[in-house]
Subunit: 152 residues, 2 copies
DNA sequence: GCACACTCGACCTAAAAAGTCGAGAAAGTC
DNA sequence: GACTTTCTCGACTTTTTAGGTCGAGTGTGC
């Protein structure tokens, strides 16, 4: 139950693009240094984001990357899915396709519930929220509990 | 953002032990066949559960495994943590220890919120719930949304 | 035309996940 | 007390994924 470096990098790069606004394209190298991500690896990630239609790019002098849509219309879930595929799988299978034997039948519903709860965060937060630092109230409420900050 | 086969196996085996009740110990082989888990791999998992104090075991004829605590007092989170360590890490680091640069600062709070939401499911559901098939209301509500069953 | 910066496939390494093997040690049975 | 059963546990193998590198292209702007 972990977030890969790739997904983390992708979101951070996307946030940086969101912060840059509509003006000039941002060079890969600047994204790499400002978020401390290995450049070549980042370019692969940006390419995937481009293939998924989240990002656009132009080569050459004055080239670079920019968001294909307004930052307020791109959620964290969009970015994570672009590089990792469907969120929250069990053994690389979507939970709703799994058949559990006998006593474990109800376990499928647990994984479904977990996935729903993950989505409810990632699909609510947009890149614009991240740039402004103001998260949706439902998400802020979750981080408000001191318990949420305890390692476990 | 995926659940490993190991964690899935561990929970299923634990549910099977919960279903067996307080009577005789259950043999590894029976757990393996009833939940269709490779025996040798399962034995490693059971050993980890034993080391974490969730399960007890006895060797020899009439030997087998059983739960160390009543099934109603063991949550899915307990089992998952026993085999996978802390739930929901980013790049194998707990989210609260990560420092994000500049524009990505708020991202940490997002991961914290995700973790909190995962916990809120896994810490609510006990092995007894799974055996009976009756999940806590808060969890049932999550699975009630048709949207929760859509692959994405 | 030339420098810049993305494009993209091939490749690489390390670690983790998943699973197998086999010797040994405790528990019960006869 | 020999024997069988079943857990114990380290060592090993295999497969997959994560994470990262290289280098040859190709479009763009000046």
């Amino acid at each position: 139950m972990r977030v890969s470096a790739k997904a983390d990098y992708a979101v951070r790069a996307a946030v940086e693009l969101a912060a840059a606004g509509e003006g000039e394209p941002v060079k890969g190298e600047r994204l790499a240094t400002s978020q401390d991500i290995p450049l070549q690896f980042l370019e692969h990630i940006l390419l995937e984001l481009k293939h998924q239609g989240l990002v656009r790019a132009r080569r050459g002098a004055k080239g670079g990357y920019w968001l294909a849509r307004p930052a307020a219309e791109v959620t964290v879930a969009d970015v994570v899915r672009a590089v990792e595929g469907p969120i929250a799988n069990v053994q690389s299978m979507p939970p709703e396709t799994i058949e559990y034997a006998g006593n474990a039948e109800a376990l499928r519903d647990v994984w479904i519930a977990v996935r729903a709860n993950i989505r409810s965060v990632l699909e609510e937060v947009t890149l614009a929220d991240l740039v402004s630092g103001e998260l949706p109230r439902s998400v802020e409420q979750l981080t408000a509990e001191p318990d949420a900050w305890a390692a476990r």
